[in-house]
């Protein structure tokens, strides 16, 4: 991002974003980490908290991505990576797995996003400019079913366009789904009054953050 206004800012790295998310997850939560950026959260979970990772293809209690030499070829996560199981893990079929999701049993889902609206609307599965075949996977189920939906995303697109917006332009994944956004510039809650800033990356000012956001920010 070659935005001059960013001079003096130290945006959160991907690892820092993942660590911020991980630090906010209470012990005992059952968590589904979406493909991409959210997957990094697994590497930052506090060792002294038991947090169970769910994979929509039928695993509760995933461990880290397996090293190639020790990988069990029969166990993959939703990103088709070979993963391990922790002690106490369980396996089940797809209908049971999405019963967990849709039934509100998953405490948290962390997803990527194209756009997040100030009312919590999420667009993360397809863009109107996308000429690939449309593909949704489990995103709609997760965004609708999880008790809490947090998004991890760069604050603006590579070309500098807003991703936190007043209203999504891209096709929705779910309405009023997102509760919190972890971007490289800030941590922002979605409240009945819209975006509310919890924390900012070093050097980011309220004025800058507002400039880079397509809807009004609250600074409580």
């Amino acid at each position: 991002m070659a935005d001059k206004r960013m001079a003096g800012c130290k945006p959160f790295s991907k690892a820092e974003m993942a660590a911020l998310v991980a630090a906010d997850i209470p012990e005992g939560w059952h968590v589904n980490l979406g493909i991409g950026l959210p997957t990094l959260v697994a590497d930052h979970l506090p060792m002294n908290r038991e947090i169970l990772l769910h994979s929509e293809n039928g695993i509760l209690g995933m461990g880290p991505v397996a090293q190639r030499e020790s990988a069990d070829p029969w166990i993959v996560n939703a990103g088709k990576q070979n993963v391990s199981l922790v002690r106490g893990a369980s396996l089940f079929h797809h209908a049971d797995s999405f019963a967990m999701i849709r039934g509100g049993h998953i405490d948290l889902c962390v997803l990527g996003a194209f756009e997040i609206a100030a009312n919590g609307d999420l667009a993360n599965w397809t863009t109107s400019s996308d000429d690939r075949s449309p593909a949704v996977g489990g995103a709609m189920d997760l965004a609708t079913g999880a008790r809490n939906v947090w998004v991890m995303t760069q604050h603006v697109t590579k070309s500098g366009e807003h991703k936190l917006v007043q209203q999504c332009r891209y096709p929705l994944t779910a309405r009023k789904a997102v509760g919190r956004v972890y971007s490289d510039l800030a941590v922002i809650d979605i409240t009945p009054n819209g975006f509310s800033v919890r924390a900012m990356a070093p050097g980011v000012t309220p004025a800058l953050l507002q400039d880079l956001t397509g809807a009004p920010l609250q600074f409580p």
Partner: protein, 234 residues
């Protein structure tokens, strides 16, 4: 004596014909009945409707290969990305696509197996995947009406079977297999091992044989190791 084991691919796949709807289990490389899919490709049937989570991956194996042969007229799935053969045919308009959210896909399949004709789900409300569908407020929340998804045939990968078709799965190979086994008129299983009846304990059977019509023993070893880097997926 009930013996659902068949000895060759021809017997396993008998009855699949042009226009059949075929469910195919598996998620990633795990739990995919690759031998049955290969056999299906060799039948030369056309205009199949395939129901699966993905549209295959590699062009030279499994569902990706089957689509490459032009045997598939329509696919109902949640995530058709990552399949070059599908992409090519889809861009040319040679294959029809119905995208269904993964959980709705699973529930529609389970509903078919369970005799439930339709159900109201909150998933996809307010999105373009709910366009044209009935939406109803139940308990203060909007829900979309989705219908059971049946198939003529299900191709299933299991770890063990017995002659009654009682099945177990290995690791994450369960995925869509148990629900697809329930939802098709004809359920054909590729099993790594066929064990003597009674070897699989009553508590260990995941798919009771009532859902299975034929079992072909295919001791084809482990799935390939997946990438350890993150795939573009769903």
């Amino acid at each position: 004596m009930i013996d659902k084991e068949v000895q060759d691919m021809r017997s396993a796949l008998a009855g699949i014909k042009d226009g059949s709807s075929v469910m195919i289990g598996g998620f990633g490389a795990v739990g995919q009945p690759n031998a049955l899919i290969e056999g299906l490709g060799q039948l030369g049937v056309r205009n199949l409707t395939v129901i699966a989570n993905n549209a295959g991956f590699e062009a030279d194996i499994g569902l990706g290969k089957l689509i490459g042969t032009g045997a598939v007229g329509k696919i109902i799935c949640s995530f058709p990305r990552g399949s070059s053969t599908f992409d090519q045919r889809y861009r040319k308009g040679e294959i029809e696509l119905e995208v269904v959210p993964q959980g709705t896909l699973a529930e529609r399949i389970r509903a078919a197996g369970a005799g439930i004709a339709g159900f109201y789900t909150p998933t996809a409300v307010g999105t373009k995947l709910a366009e044209g569908k009935e939406v109803r407020e139940i308990g203060g929340k909007d829900h979309v009406l989705e219908y059971a998804l049946h198939a003529d045939v299900a191709l299933i990968q299991a770890w063990t079977s017995d002659r009654w078709g009682n099945l177990t799965y290995r690791g994450s190979g369960r995925n869509f297999n148990p629900i697809m086994a329930m939802a098709a008129k004809l359920t054909i299983v590729q099993a790594g091992t066929v064990l003597p009846l009674g070897t699989i304990g009553p508590d260990d059977i995941i798919t009771p044989g009532i859902f299975v019509n034929r079992v072909l023993c295919v001791p084809d070893g482990d799935p390939p190791l997946a990438s350890t880097k993150d795939a573009d997926n769903g």
